[in-house]
């Protein structure tokens, strides 16, 4: 059996108190196994980033557990950090650095020796077709190149779990295709990948499991094929719109009735 690198059980997080409080996550269960790409879907405010924040130890849950490589990530965030590599939703400013230097430095911080970091950075830069931009000052690169650099910073020395929050934003179609190949490769090399994306159409061909969040809860989960087979629609994106659209329509109807 493939080992689970991430097991989230009953995870709940509430922000604020009183009538204005927001239940960002509500008893979420999910797992990511080694070799799997698990995609978190959900519209804005569904609770995806809150979930990611708790997995990587930036946020403390109100209830529930996060086991990362068998380690209690809530109780031992420092140990858990060594097991997770993160591409944040916001681009990390690297002004003053070049993409190559930034990628190499992060690789070395994560434990690679200098020659290994240099080799691996070069591999990633070539795989993502970034060689032209590799040695340009960061302030002269486009948003898409900055986004790919951030991905490479997470991928250079991947932990047991790689968390990617919107990796395709601003990236051109050709390099997006290269990026999806690299994401798949990380999983094929035995890592678990937790992927947050709105790019459902392209993700469908790469991911192994899909978890749909809405209002902080897991609405449904399964393989892309199971999603398509058990709901109206020909693609994962159709199913997503069907499921989330129904939720929205229900909410609108309730609001209209009130």
């Amino acid at each position: 059996m493939t080992p689970e690198v991430l097991v989230v059980s009953g995870l709940s997080k509430r922000f604020g108190s009183g009538p204005g409080a927001v239940q960002a996550n509500d008893a979420i269960d999910l797992s990511v196994s080694a070799g799997q790409v698990v995609c978190l879907l959900g519209h804005n405010g569904a609770g995806k980033s809150t979930l990611v924040g708790q997995v990587v130890g930036l946020t403390v849950p109100d209830a529930g557990t996060v086991l990362l490589g068998g380690i209690d990530a809530v109780a031992h965030p420092a140990a858990a950090r060594a097991l997770a590599s993160v591409q944040a939703q916001a681009n990390v400013p690297i002004t003053g650095l070049t993409p190559r230097t930034a990628i190499e430095l992060v690789g070395r911080v994560r434990g690679l020796r200098k020659p290994a970091a240099r080799t691996r950075a070069d591999e990633l830069l070539q795989a993502l077709d970034l060689i032209t931009w590799a040695d340009k000052p960061a302030e002269k690169v486009s948003g898409g190149v900055a986004r790919l650099t951030a991905f490479a910073m997470a991928a250079i020395a991947p932990g047991a779990l790689v968390v990617l929050d919107e990796p395709t934003n601003d990236v051109d179609p050709v390099r997006r295709w290269l990026l999806w190949q690299e994401i798949r490769r990380i999983a094929d090399d035995g890592k678990g990948v937790l992927l947050v994306t709105h790019n459902i159409h392209e993700a469908e061909h790469v991911v192994d499991q899909v978890v749909l969040l809405d209002e902080g809860r897991v609405v449904t989960h399964g393989t892309p094929a199971q999603f398509v087979a058990s709901h109206p629609g020909d693609t994962l994106e159709d199913v997503y719109i069907h499921l989330v659209g129904h939720q929205d329509a229900r909410g609108s109807a309730t609001a209209a009735a009130a």
């Binding site: 403390v60 650095l97 911080v109 690679l112």
Partner: protein, 257 residues
């Protein structure tokens, strides 16, 4: 091609000193474009402190001259910690880079230490120049104590740690505002360049508990050791602030929402 892997054991086993060196390199390169400008500002600040106060007081008596001559160096060190640090950290919070850096597998205190080293290097030219200009302008002679090698870094550590705590505990806009207020307090209402007896009583009392006066005492006692000495009470206050500032910064860095 296969993904290089930093196994947990390898990552955890990575030398903390090596990681600190890499973080220093990261922060230094990130700020490299701004550092020449900051060094100029620090130098101007030192010159302004010396010449500006000189215009106000004319030819001061020897004791006051020593205060003014040594004040610029201390002001520089404190300003970098209490003003530049909170501004830099508040900006990192706003742009999201701090949150990402906190996902890296490095001890929390290394963020503080790397910024400390970088900012201390920024403060150095202004502090040295302020001292040179101050001694020349007021015609005083320094008697440097070997303790200066510990005193100056200690002042920088405390100021930076307090600055870090301010930036991490307050909202970015508020941290920026507080850092601006600190500029006025340090320059005009603290016993760095102005003797305590010239301050209003309530402010003098407040400075008995705040770290600024003991930091200035320590620098003076290290720079002009044949005239000034460090009293027991300021030393204890400074020791308490050292513990408080480092514990506060470490706690703020480790804090999770």
């Amino acid at each position: 091609m296969s993904a290089a892997t930093a196994s947990p054991a390898a990552t955890l086993g990575t030398s903390v000193v090596r990681q600190l060196g890499l973080l220093i390199q990261w922060q230094f390169r990130r700020g490299a474009q701004m550092f020449p400008l900051l060094a100029v500002v620090q130098t101007l600040l030192a010159a302004t402190t010396v010449f500006g106060y000189g215009l106000l007081v004319g030819d001061p008596p020897p004791d006051a001259a020593l205060f003014l001559a040594t004040g610029a160096a201390t002001v520089n060190l404190i300003m970098v910690g209490l003003v530049l640090t909170p501004q830099g950290v508040a900006q990192a919070k706003t742009e999201g880079s701090l949150a990402w850096m906190r996902t890296l597998p490095v001890p929390r205190w290394t963020f503080l230490a790397s910024d400390l080293v970088v900012y201390a290097l920024v403060a150095l030219p202004g502090s040295v120049l302020g001292l040179v200009v101050g001694t020349w302008r007021f015609g005083v002679t320094l008697s440097l104590s070997p303790w200066l090698a510990l005193a100056a870094p200690l002042v920088a550590v405390i100021a930076t740690a307090v600055g870090y705590s301010i930036a991490l505990l307050l909202r970015p806009q508020l941290a920026m505002l507080v850092s601006q207020v600190i500029v006025f307090v340090v320059l005009l209402f603290s016993p760095i360049s102005i003797p305590t007896q010239r301050l209003p009583q309530w402010l003098a009392t407040a400075h008995e508990w705040l770290p600024i006066a003991p930091m200035a005492d320590l620098m003076r006692a290290s720079l002009v050791s044949d005239v000034f000495s460090m009293g027991t009470r300021p030393a204890l206050v400074l020791a308490a602030w050292t513990v408080l500032a480092l514990a506060g910064a470490n706690r703020a860095l480790s804090r999770r929402t």
